[in-house]
Amino acid sequence: MLRTTLAGLRLHTSRYVTTALAILLGVMFVTGTMVFADTLDSDYESSVMGSATSVDAIAEPEEPDFDPEAGPPPPAVFGEDDLERVRDLDEVADADGRVEGQAVLLDSDGRAFGMTPPAALSLGEVSRFDASEGTLPSGGDEIALATSTADEAGFGTGDTVTVLDPDQEEREFTVTGLVELGIDPSYTMGGAMILDRDTAEEMTGASGYVEIDALAAEGHTDQEAADAIAAVVSGDADVRTGEQFGLDMAQEAGADTAVMRVALLLFAFIAMFVAAIVIYNTFAIVIAQRQREMALLRCVGAKRSQVFGSVLAESTVVGLVSSALGVLAGIGIGMLGARFGSDLSASGAGGPVDLVITPAAVVSGLAVGTVVTVVSALVPALRATRVSPLAALRTSATSAGLDRRTGRLRTAAGLAAFAASAAMVGLSRTGGTSEADMVIVTAAALTAFVGVVVLGPLLVRGVVHVAGLGLRRTGVASMLAVDNSTRNPKRAATAMIALTVGATLITGYSVVSASTESTMNAVFEEQFPVDYQLSPQFAMDEPTGGEPAEEPADEDGDAGAEVPDAETVPESVRSALASAPEIDQVMGQRTDFVENEGSADGPGGPVNLMVNTYTDTDLATDMPSDLVSGDLEDMGPGRATLSEDYADGLTAGDTYTLPTEDGALDLEVAAVTEGTGQIRGVVVDPQDFEQAFPGHTGDDMLYVRGASGADPSELRNAVHDAVDDHPTVQVASMAEMKNQFSQVLDIAFYTIAAMLALAILIAVFGISNTMALSVLERTRESALLRALGLTRAQLRRMLGVEAVLLCLIGALIGITLGVVFGWAGAASVLPDLILTVPFAQIGVFVAIAVVAGLLASIMPARRAARTSITGSLAGE
């Protein structure tokens, strides 16, 4: 029996080519993902291990308890005495510590680098880091940069860079080298520079060591050294051997790749699902066509189980061979991915990446491909066993297949699925937004998909009928195509549904993406109607020792304004902005915190109360907000606006008691906001704010609104001129922010589209295969048409129109589902969603569907047009 199967396979190899391609692509995705992720894992691991194992023990000070409401704690450090004790240990040959603070680095445009000042550190004599290019700085005018920082800021070895000291004075340094600081996000995201020890302390005001690295003395193991260090350093320090430290870091990095691996496998799953539909359809068609062959086998004595086994054996062989090819292709893709991926990833140590091919990657690819193929072939195999031996004797086994019946049960079930889905969508839209809604929408989408599967044949006929009204007039080729596409609605529906999966997902995501963008833009515009936002570079630590903590104290209020304060926007910037003709309005925001005792008689809200005031601002018109009670028009001295979480049950007209340094301040509540917009915490009148925080006279944030009709580029120049002398002031343009936001969305969209493209490609293969098999079945018809005078071009056009019709139906159903569920999904996450249907993108999808249909018809049409008329007419 197996021999018959294999002989049959050899004879009909061409029937399985596209199926094999579908499996191959799916498996390629699975294996490629595994190889890619494994390789990245090992790449991270080797780079992290390489740097960590260059020292024998690494000690980090005990992390203080982090209290999110108390603000950032001072960084934990080891003192000089800790280092001395470590150095004195018998187990330690040498040790040194890393000093770390922050300093403002100016990029090549002369603006401060990053949203926060980058880390400025000194590496000790003994350190797990070393220069990967050039040398480490050895004097007061030398600096090394983290590789990623150098790339972003546009510097290289030998360049001169400017760093601001704690007094905001500029100092120039020469870049002597680049240091690979690994994948620590505080360095890769925030940036880092390396100075020599004294300069680092001078430039940052930091003291103490954030890490002590040690080399074990001869005759002592790393572990002994680590244990000894742990015993002598202060506090409950975390001391690990270099190797352990490296392993731990690699594991953290692995967690990142795990997320990516899962995400990619999700798309691989979608591709495999589509491939399964294609495989099912191919086997179903092939078995229908080979009905007589099966019947003949039964006639000569094959048992049902043998027929079943033979089909399964066939699918196993097809699955195994295609999966093996898919695994090979996947290894290739994984290699390409790892090469490009490692450039993007933080490790980026350059150099060739060693490809990691785990047995799991190979086995999972083979297993997934084969199992999916065999499972997809199960139903067709069962159908094959039902062929009666008598069928062998019937003359026209394949000319049948004009299956126009669609059962009532099928129609009822399909409509029920759609009704249930619609009900679920309705249910999800009754309330606001919640996670449960998201689940309901997903369930509704799946139910609707079941409906499409069940009603597919009917849908195909319905749509083709409508499309046919116009198409029939355009010529005999189109007329025949319309008729052909409904000849076997089940087959057509299955081919089309494979495409529907991809079309639904991609349209759904594009609707979510477009709606998110327009909703966010509307939110920006409504709640934040300004053009520019200026803020000081936000320091993570207190910038210079001593001063700021006591700054708001008592009477030295004016003194604070004289010293350039790194945390407020300088007054000169504000006056420069206010005097520019292009600028209509400059609003200031001042924010301070007061400690809330949290006692029973204190107001509600968190331990640290945020108090804001806005200067030159009319809250009601400039900062519109969704209100719970009251009216922003009522704001004024002696009044306060609270966000809901601070109000603790208070409503407009009640009295709010604000605890300040000088005692409680009683304010009348003017309004309570929902706290979703710009207005949060306690907002008071500038007059009251000055009374509560007499030292706080600078603006923490400036909002600039251009004069109406001002040229955007002139406005931009005016804003940038105003901050020219203040490199640390960050300028954010709302237009640019919107732009960046939509760029992020676009990148996400294109990534997802690229991932789904494979599923769509597989579906197109499926449609091509369905066409090819149908053409095979209709060889004699094609010959008849040619004999009656249909030209080859007309024959090709006929098949082209049929394939395009199939693709278009699949795409249109997918687009409809995508729009509905994209909307429902987005609406269950985003409140006040503005539904935006990206018609241009959808137009592109439709165009792609047309092109895909034409491509899918190329091979079958060539085959049909080439077939000899007389040969085909002669019979089977």
Partner: protein
């Protein structure tokens, strides 16, 4: 023997519609050459109903395919009217078939997804030709399909299907109709009907009909029977009867 075919015989006073000269068709099968046609000269006259007969493998189907422009002969010429069809490109052949030739095949004559009427009108639609409704009505009446026009082929009997094919072939008034075993799949009563239509159309509508058959009864409906053996025309009978054809055929098989 072929001498006799060159000279026109009964009912052949009109000029020939189809003229074949020196037709040779050679197939390569596994290194050896098979002569399906070994130099055939034959004429078919306007309004004549000719049957081509011969034992299996005599080359009668190949001859018809070459005459109809479905297949290209290895050498020799075929003229349809004044048009030499040998050597035409595929596209021109296609248009020639579409506009000037009608076909009736043994089976698989109809497209299963088209109704009887759509099948009949198909060649006109392919050619984007307007249909002579009067002729259509007349032909439909003659073949007796009036109440079957909106049926799909699957709902028609074998004889009815074949009558649809005949109606299709005749509708366009082609210069010649080729019928390849048109009654091969039919019971004798249905077969007789189809053959009567072909004969009547030749007589009444001056329709040239060339039919390939191996059935002496079918051949007896023709005006003339041409006998083929081993790719050559070996005999010819005018005003045939089934008995005469049978005995000639028997002689051929024995020879």
């Amino acid at each position: 023997m072929s001498e006799s075919t060159v000279h026109p015989q009964a009912r052949t006073q009109s000029p020939p519609v189809v003229v074949a000269r020196g037709l040779v068709k050679t197939f390569e099968t596994g290194g050896s050459q098979v002569h399906a046609l070994a130099g055939v000269d034959v004429d078919f006259h306007r309004g004549a109903f000719t049957a081509i007969m011969g034992p299996s493998g005599s080359g009668k189907s190949t001859l018809m395919h070459c005459l109809a422009g479905l297949d290209a002969p290895t050498s020799g010429t075929v003229h349809l009217g004044r048009t030499p069809i040998t050597g035409l490109r595929d596209r021109d052949l296609t248009l020639l078939r579409r506009d000037r030739i009608g076909f009736i095949f043994q089976s698989f004559n109809l497209l299963p997804m088209l109704t009887a009427e759509q099948n009949i009108l198909l060649p006109s639609q392919i050619a984007r030709r307007s249909v002579d409704r009067e002729r259509f009505e007349h032909i439909v009446e003659v073949v007796g399909l009036r109440d079957r026009l909106d049926h799909l082929p699957a709902k028609l009997s074998g004889g009815q299907q074949q009558r649809v094919a005949v109606a299709r072939a005749l509708l366009n008034a082609p210069e010649v109709v080729y019928a390849d075993e048109p009654t091969g799949n039919l019971d004798s009563r249905s077969g007789a009907e189809v053959l009567r239509f072909l004969r009547d159309s030749a007589r009444d509508l001056q329709q040239t009909v060339v039919m390939v058959t191996h059935d002496p009864v079918a051949a007896s409906y023709a005006d003339r029977v041409v006998f083929l053996r081993d790719g050559s025309v070996v005999d010819e009978v005018t005003e045939p009867t089934a008995e005469l054809v049978s005995s000639r055929l028997l002689k051929l098989e024995e020879a």
